[in-house]
């Protein structure tokens, strides 16, 4: 019988990260997927990153994950969103060639030794004494394993809807995964249904591009990964997206199909995401809005397909075509594939721990959409955490849990477990209370130490980072010790409309002024001063400036973290019996018993648990 340390079900974004990290940590990995050519397939829009999601990609990259590298190699457009705002909300986003993305993903997986791809479908997970011991495939083959990571995406009992027609499947043209849910339910897991949707695909050659607004990428484009060599980037030609809008006529046509909407007629039971609604939902809920923005995104260099972002729908096919034809630029468009909604099984994530191991069965891990998330980046972030933890456990090493205060991945998993989402969960920067600290630009400074510890990041990279840290510290010292005379700096200050100074001031104080920029300030005084060679390194300059400029705000957030973290360190025993707590609210007791938080901090974030419940718990925990 075949045997692996870890079996991973699903070759999507979570599965890839889990497989690559666990295998690099020395475990043998069997990656089960129905079709290896579907590795990393982008089921929905051909894009990576965006607000908060870009942050996740940078964090995965800093830990040594694959997503940033794959996105860089398959990217046909790169933009930094929110460039007009502060560095904490800058977010990278790429358009990607769907085909190349999959090819690079497969190549990435194949390049790691210890991974074997098994083209199969799983129907059963096997446990003995609440410990995973193996799996059974559709062909009734049994494979042994010590850990199982389920990254099944939308495939568990997937059901696709277009109008009143529904087809079983996890993605267009692909079969669902049947049996695994039932096997998990038999073990005692609770499951639910979620829904997501995708827009129609259009034929590129049938669109009147000339009359549409173009949206090009940034020049120069900026890669996600710190490991992407800049001299080879971008790897492939770059393309533009285009913009168009719906109008009242389009809305009228879509409304005609509402009586055959699987959503409105109740055929779809699963809960859909509020932040990514279907076009029919937008029209229905915001009827006073006259038009909705649509992005036409190329699916790839050689592809004739165009993804119409913003037009996700499950209305009948003929309604979709009729409506599309009333949109500017799409008068004669050919719809290659209608949009559809997909319903799938998920396992409410209170059932997993912060390591993503299930509380019920040891050695069983869930990552990605099975935990109720939506998005490639959210899935990948969980994949790498599950992969690392499965490997650590097999090697009898201490677990790996990221804190909310050090990463978006930490926020993601903590939210999932504590809030146990009932709609598909997407990351937003506003979910992170430590937003100013969790920036893309310092992801490596926050997380690369862990990647290095687990052997996912090379020594050279880590050493370079260490050297840079020293440079940053020295630069800050230099800027605070170097005082500038009014005669030297006033001309510069005037040029940026900043108040002149009467007596000499240290540079770091001047940098705190919003209108003063470190780089141009240094340039203006270069003749008079030596000693800022340290700041010749752009990343050092950037980090130094951000840290000085926003010191007050960052300090306030750090203080807040310290206050909160005191509670994080008050641990709750695993089998703590909340029924003994007479003074706790009924809802609080119920939620606490369900989630089984590990720390008082985690407990305090569970919805329904009140501040007074936490006080009571604190008192009891000390008994």
């Amino acid at each position: 019988m075949k045997s692996y340390d870890i079996i991973i079900v699903g070759g999507g974004h979570a599965g890839i990260e889990a497989a690559v990290s666990a295998a690099q940590m020395g475990c043998t990995v069997g990656l089960v997927t129905m079709d290896k050519n579907a590795m990393g397939r982008m089921s929905c829009n051909p894009a990576i990153g965006g607000s908060a999601k870009g942050h996740l990609v940078h964090e995965i990259d800093a830990l040594g994950g694959a997503m940033g590298l794959i996105a860089d190699q398959s990217g046909i457009q790169f933009r930094t969103l929110n460039k007009s705002k502060g560095p904490a909300v800058w977010a990278g986003r790429s358009q990607n060639d769907r085909k190349i993305y999959s090819e690079v993903a497969l190549k990435t997986v194949l390049a790691v030794k210890n991974i074997e791809i098994i083209e199969e479908s799983l129907i059963e997970a096997i446990e003995e004494n609440k410990q995973i011991v193996g799996v059974k495939t559709l062909n009734c083959e049994e494979i042994k394993c010590r850990a199982l990571i389920v990254c099944s995406g939308t495939f568990l009992n997937g059901l696709m809807h277009t109008g009143l027609k529904s087809i079983k499947g996890g993605r267009f043209g692909e079969l669902p995964s049947v049996g695994l849910t039932e096997s998990l339910v038999k073990m005692g897991f609770e499951y639910g249904r979620l829904k997501t949707g995708t827009p129609p695909r259009l034929n590129k050659n049938s669109i009147n591009w000339d009359i549409l607004e173009e949206q090009p990428g940034d020049i120069p484009p900026k890669p996600f990964s710190l490991r992407t060599p800049l001299n080879e980037f971008p790897y492939i030609p770059q393309l533009s997206c285009h913009l168009t809008y719906t109008n009242q006529i389009v809305h009228k046509i879509l409304e005609k199909g509402f009586d055959r909407s699987p959503m409105f007629t109740g055929r779809i039971q699963g809960v859909g995401p509020r932040y990514c609604p279907s076009i029919e939902d937008k029209i229905n809920r915001f009827s006073d809005k006259e038009r909705h923005q649509l992005f036409l995104e190329p699916e790839g260099l050689d592809s004739d397909l165009i993804y119409i972002n913003g037009f996700s729908t499950s209305l009948p096919e003929e309604i979709q075509i009729e409506a599309l034809h009333q949109i500017k630029g799409l008068e004669n468009v050919e719809m290659v594939r209608p949009g559809y909604a997909v319903e799938y099984d998920y396992f409410p994530p209170y059932q997993v721990d912060l390591t993503l191991e299930t509380k019920l069965i040891k050695g069983l891990y869930f990552a990605g959409q099975i935990n109720g998330t939506s998005g490639y980046e959210e899935a990948a972030g969980q994949g790498i955490v599950a992969g690392i933890n499965a490997a650590l456990k097999i090697q009898n090493r201490p677990e790996f849990v990221l804190k909310r205060s050090e990463s978006y991945i930490g926020v993601l998993i903590d939210d999932l477990v504590g809030k146990s989402t009932s709609e598909p969960y997407r990351m937003f920067t506003s979910r992170a209370e430590h937003r100013l600290i969790l920036r893309q630009d310092n992801a490596d400074r926050r997380l690369t130490k862990y990647g290095y510890e687990f052997g996912l990041i090379s020594k050279e990279m880590f050493d370079e980072l260490t050297k840079r840290e020293i440079k940053i510290t020295k630069s800050k010292e230099f800027l605070s010790n170097t005082k500038l005379q009014p005669a030297i700096i006033n001309e510069y200050l005037e040029s940026v409309n900043s108040a002149t100074i009467d007596s000499s001031e240290p540079i770091d104080k001047l940098i705190k002024r919003p209108e003063v920029e470190l780089k141009s300030l240094l340039a203006s005084i270069e003749k008079q001063n030596n000693g800022f060679d340290l700041l010749k390194d752009e990343t050092v300059l950037e980090q130094t400036e951000i840290e000085i400029k926003y010191e007050g705000y960052i300090q306030r957030q750090i203080e807040l973290i310290a206050k909160i973290e005191k509670y994080e360190e008050v641990l709750i025993p695993l089998n703590f019996n909340y029924n003994n707590l007479k003074s706790i609210s009924t809802e609080g007791r119920e939620k606490l018993s369900k989630v089984k938080p590990r720390s008082l901090g985690q407990a305090s974030r569970i919805s329904g648990v009140t501040p007074s419940d936490i006080s009571v718990l604190l008192v009891y925990l000390k008994s």
């Binding site: 360190e569 008050v570 003074s583």
Partner: protein
């Protein structure tokens, strides 16, 4: 890796005796900086820091203007042999809650924070000074406080405040949403709000918070009641007045001067405000030992009073002697000059604040109005006004205001939304502390409900 929470704890303070008037009030201070901080406002024979544990010291509490707040006794306790197990000090003051609160507010300026409900006991438990059964009782107390606040006597007051704070918090959440919208959904085809709009919202909320904060002194009065000392020469009709107020004879009323030997206390409600009346035995120097005792009690009642009702007899005239005695104990603005027996002589001088007849009831309504005016000033209070009566709430509002000012500064400096958001969120949390609501989900839920998101 469970850490002992008492390590690195901050220093806390609170009134340890019930609110209102007692023989003494005790302010408890506990935590690593407790003794050192009390030293900063305490002037005694030697520094408390140099004193042994379990010793008591006489001295004065002095405020920033070098004025004496009160004569006090301070007990020093060193860890681990204190109630909480930490270094502690207990300041015993004369029984006025006003003085106790003044001392607390001085301590709050020394980097000490106000204790949470039950926090002293919590610390005592955490430091092993209480056993589990005792701790359970504390847990129940912490919880029952929340429950009780739904029922308690001051409910209406708290309810109004909660409603007000809740609506301000909701407005803050809305304002935050406007900012978050632009940060998280920059790509959406949405009309983003102008910073002017955000600023207008913040200014509006700040004004409301100012109003609430300014209601504090008044709110405290509503919560704690107003102490009124009834003072007058013998036989001017103090007890008759008291009886008239209360419609029943509690004090001994006779024609012999000096028969009211004790301080008699009665309570009276005027338009929802509680007045505590203290009938005094007079403060005339006497040789009678029983009278002497009464005199000293009377003087204390005057000191502790919020208002002195100085009663005169229209037939014997204004007692300058007694007035001067009172003025030594109480500022003139707190004294209400009242003349009695106007049924016997209608010629009332303007010199008096009000003329009454305790016999016929004439002028009593005007006296009530005057008392109310002295107690709450000219503030326009109705039973529907939200007022702040709790120092904890006051502190939270103060913090909220600071946060709002921080947010405005970021806007002025044209900083991006994520910086404005830091202070707005802190403001939401500060307000949330008053009503026990802290959640980050609110903002996103609000965005999803109000804006068409999803391209």
């Amino acid at each position: 890796m469970t850490q002992t929470l008492s390590q690195n704890e901050d220093t806390i303070t609170a009134l340890a005796t019930p609110n209102g008037v007692g023989a003494i009030a005790i302010v408890r201070v506990s935590g690593p900086n407790s003794i050192e901080s009390v030293d900063k406002i305490f002037y005694g024979k030697k520094k408390l820091q140099d004193c042994d544990s379990h010793t008591i010291h006489y001295g004065k509490i002095i405020d920033k203007n070098r004025e004496v707040v009160d004569d006090v006794l301070v007990s020093v306790f060193r860890e681990p042999n204190s109630y909480t197990g930490e270094d502690s000090a207990e300041i015993s003051t004369h029984g006025s809650s006003l003085i106790a609160e003044k001392i607390i507010s001085l301590l709050l300026e020394e980097n000490i924070r106000l204790a949470e409900p039950g926090e002293f006991t919590k610390r005592a438990f955490l430091n092993g000074r209480l056993d589990l059964a005792q701790a359970e009782a504390v847990a129940d107390v912490i919880n029952s406080r929340t429950d009780a606040s739904l029922r308690g006597a001051r409910n209406q007051l708290d309810g109004l405040l909660s409603q007000k704070v809740d609506s301000l918090r909701e407005m803050l959440v809305n304002t935050s949403s406007l900012i978050e919208l632009e940060l998280d959904f920059a790509e959406e085809d949405l009309e983003f709000v102008s910073l002017q709009q955000v600023l207008d919202n913040i200014n509006f909320i700040e004004t409301e918070i100012d109003t609430l904060m300014s209601s504090y002194s008044f709110g405290r009065i509503i919560r704690d009641g107003v102490n009124v000392a009834l003072v007058g020469e013998p036989n001017v009709g103090k007890s008759s007045l008291l009886n008239f107020f209360l419609k029943e004879a509690r004090a001994i009323v006779s024609e012999i001067p000096g028969t009211t030997r004790d301080v008699i206390r009665e309570e009276l409600s005027i338009d929802g405000i509680l007045f505590r009346l203290f009938d005094t035995a007079g403060i005339r120097t006497t040789e009678d030992s029983i009278e002497k005792e009464g005199v000293s009690r009377s003087r204390k009642a005057i000191e502790d009073a919020d208002i002195v009702l100085f009663l005169n007899d229209i037939n014997t005239g204004f007692s300058n002697y007694l007035y001067n005695e009172i003025k030594e104990l109480k500022s003139e603005s707190r004294i209400l000059k009242v003349v009695n027996k106007i049924d016997t002589n209608h010629n009332v001088s303007n010199f008096y604040d009000v003329g009454i007849s305790a016999k016929t009831g004439e002028g009593i309504e005007r006296l009530f109005d005057k008392l109310k005016e002295k107690a709450v000033g000219s503030q326009n209070y109705t039973e529907k006004t939200a007022v702040v009566s709790n120092i904890r709430h006051y502190q939270a509002l103060k913090k909220t205001k600071e946060n709002l000012i921080g947010a405005k500064k970021s806007i002025e400096e044209k900083l991006s939304g994520e910086f404005i958001s830091v202070d707005l969120r802190n403001a939401e949390n500060s307000l949330g502390e008053i009503i026990g609501k802290i959640t980050s989900e609110d903002i996103l839920n609000n965005i999803f409900a109000k804006f068409c998101i999803g391209k």
